[in-house]
């Protein structure tokens, strides 16, 4: 066991250190680098924060939070498919629009283009 690394961590952490937080996660948890002031600290989560989505893989240490690829997206299913847009944008078929396609109107509350 390398110096400074502990196995007695909480939540979804498998290994952690005082300085860097989680270093690796328990199976099925997503690794995410959280900004904490000037530092970045590792955390292990079961759902990724806003603006990120979880990618799963056969090797557990590859489960991580990945940034949504679409600008103006608050919550995405994968890199290119949005589920909820940021304020001022409207969702239609996985994309965030400033104005809705013809025949649809923007719903500000739902942040979606609706019929």
């Amino acid at each position: 066991q390398s110096p400074g690394v502990s196995w007695g961590c909480h939540g979804g952490c498998l290994t952690c250190s005082a300085a860097n937080g989680c270093l690796s996660c328990k199976p099925r948890f997503f690794f995410f680098l959280e900004r904490s002031g000037m530092r970045q600290v590792g955390v292990c989560v079961s759902s990724c924060p806003s603006g990120y989505y979880g990618t799963r893989s056969r090797s557990p240490d590859m489960n991580k939070c990945t940034k949504c690829g679409l600008s103006n997206c608050d919550s995405c299913f994968n890199k290119n498919f949005c589920m909820r847009c940021k304020e001022g944008y409207y969702l239609y078929h996985g994309k965030c629009h400033v104005t809705c396609p013809e025949g649809l109107i923007p719903s500000t509350m739902q942040r979606e283009c609706v019929h």
Partner: protein
């Protein structure tokens, strides 16, 4: 006192952090049950990462405004059929990272407004037929990282509004015909990391709006012809399978394709017409299709920026290549059988060109004409015997040139002033000296012989020899002595570096000078 989930005078239970606006965060508190005394107006409740093993009946009975409920990362094994009753406005339900063995179908029944349902990372082996009955609004469904042995076609049939579905990381072995027939709204389908060996010819019929299909990391042995039913497909992945042949007209019905990931397949044959008319294709990587002899047609691939086609028996590059591919930035045609190079004029955006390990013999005047953006050119391990003196003249941005292991005797230097790395090792016929001043920005150079390094790394005795030898080798060096004295200011690494047994003098080794 208020029961679990019952509204109480206090806006928030002591375990939770509430923002007073309807959001309650009670995550990671070691709770064994749903906290009590939550505000009736709670619309967002996060009780993930606790130790809740069961959800009893009516536990959220009075949280009728709840829109998002997070229960991920607990130890849920059982959800009472009435546990979620009353949640008529619930849109997002997160149950991932729990211990569920089946889809809690009865508990889900009344959630008519549900849009996102996460059941990933459980131990689900069974999806009851009525699992998703009543979920007409569902758009996003996660069933990945479970124990499914087949596509739950029956239950999924109720989900006409579904837009995104992942069944990745399960034990699915085949996709039957018409498996997703009712999914005309589906945009994203992830099936990666299963054991899929067989896909029916009509498996993807009905997926008229599918844009992303991920079949990576499966056991496919033949190309999934079923993709021909996907007119809107933009992103297709089937890397890390066992596919040997990409058939003719493989993607003829997928005109919108942007990315195709097919690496890590034991490819041997690629149909010439497989990749035709893909005007949005962004990059294509084909490695090791060892029995492929003809360059696949890329007619219409005007958006292609990166092409890798290596390890084939292709002997010639078609002349039309740069007429079609004028967006190309990187081109890797290494490890083929190419003997003759066409002109690359039309590829004026080309930045990296790798032709390593072919059978190229001649570099003509116009071969690289007009490639003003080219940074990296690798021609190593060919059979080049002659290079036209103006061959590199227009390569004003070239920084890395690798000509090692060829058979030419002299290097034309016109156009090479931007180089910072030059590799010439292994050209045993090239015995003459090279003049440093043609390479003002050079940082690394490898040469056939150690004595050639002396001009670059300052062996005094050679400077006069270099001027004298110049006439014999035909390399045009301007013999102005002041300029000759000027050292390259930048730190430069030249190999093989001269030493005791690799003296600066070329002839007779001049042992006597070495000893005194």
């Amino acid at each position: 006192t208020a029961g679990p989930g019952q509204p109480g005078p206090a806006a928030c239970a002591s375990w939770c952090r509430c923002d007073g606006d309807g959001r309650a965060d009670c995550s990671g508190r070691g709770l064994a049950g749903v906290p009590e005394r939550l505000s009736a107006f709670t619309y967002y409740l996060d009780i993930s990462m606790n130790n809740i093993t069961e959800l009893p009946a009516n536990v959220f009975k009075n949280l009728t405004y709840l829109e998002e409920l997070r229960l991920a990362g607990n130890d849920l094994t059982f959800i009472h059929p009435e546990a979620l009753s009353g949640l008529h406005q619930l849109k997002v339900l997160m149950l991932q990272n729990n211990q569920l063995k089946t889809v809690p179908s009865q508990a889900l029944r009344g959630l008519h407004a549900l849009q996102s349902l996460r059941l990933d990372a459980n131990h689900i082996t069974e999806v009851p037929e009525d699992s998703f009955e009543g979920l007409q609004q569902l758009r996003h469904l996660w069933l990945d990282d479970n124990n499914l042995a087949e596509v739950p076609m029956g239950p999924l049939g109720d989900l006409g509004s579904l837009q995104a579905l992942t069944l990745a990381l399960n034990r699915i072995t085949r996709i039957p015909d018409h498996a997703f027939a009712n999914f005309s709204s589906l945009v994203v389908l992830h099936l990666h990391n299963n054991k899929i060996k067989e896909i029916g010819r009509n498996s993807f019929n009905g997926l008229d709006n599918l844009e992303t299909l991920d079949l990576n990391f499966n056991n496919l042995e033949t190309f999934p012809e079923a993709v021909q039913a996907l007119p809107k497909l933009k992103e297709l992945g089937f890397h890390s399978n066992n596919i040997a042949v990409i058939p003719e007209r493989a993607f003829q019905n997928n005109p919108l394709l942007r990315t195709i990931h097919l690496y890590d397949n034991p490819l041997s044959i690629v149909g010439v017409s497989a990749f035709q008319n893909l005007s949005d294709l962004h990059s294509l990587m084909l490695r090791g299709a060892s029995k492929t002899e003809l360059f696949p047609s890329l007619a219409g691939a005007a958006s292609l920026e990166s092409l890798t086609l290596t390890g084939t028996q292709i002997g010639a590059i078609p002349s039309w290549l740069c007429e079609d591919l004028h967006s190309l930035r990187t081109l890797d045609l290494s490890y083929n059988e190419i003997k003759e190079l066409p002109g690359f004029q039309g590829c004026f955006q080309l930045e990296e060109l790798n032709l390593q390990h072919n059978h190229i013999q001649l570099i003509h005047r116009d071969t690289f004409q007009g490639l003003a953006s080219l940074h990296i050119l690798d021609l190593s391990r060919n059979e080049i015997t002659s290079i036209h003196q103006d061959a590199f003249s227009s390569l004003t941005s070239l920084t890395n040139l690798d000509l090692s292991s060829n058979h030419f005797s002299s290097l034309p230097t016109a156009g090479l002033s931007s180089l910072n790395q030059l590799k010439l090792a292994g050209n045993l016929e090239m015995k003459g000296p090279l003049a440093p001043r043609h390479f003002p920005r050079l940082r690394t150079i490898s040469l056939p012989y150690a004595y050639q390094c002396c001009a670059f790394t300052g062996c005094e005795s050679v400077l006069s020899a270099t001027a004298e030898d110049e006439g014999k080798t035909g390399v045009s060096i301007n013999a102005d002595s002041a300029e000759e004295e000027e050292r390259i200011p930048l730190p430069l690494h030249c190999s093989p570096s001269p030493g005791a047994f690799k003296p600066c003098e070329y002839l007779l080794g001049s042992w006597m000078i070495r000893l005194t």
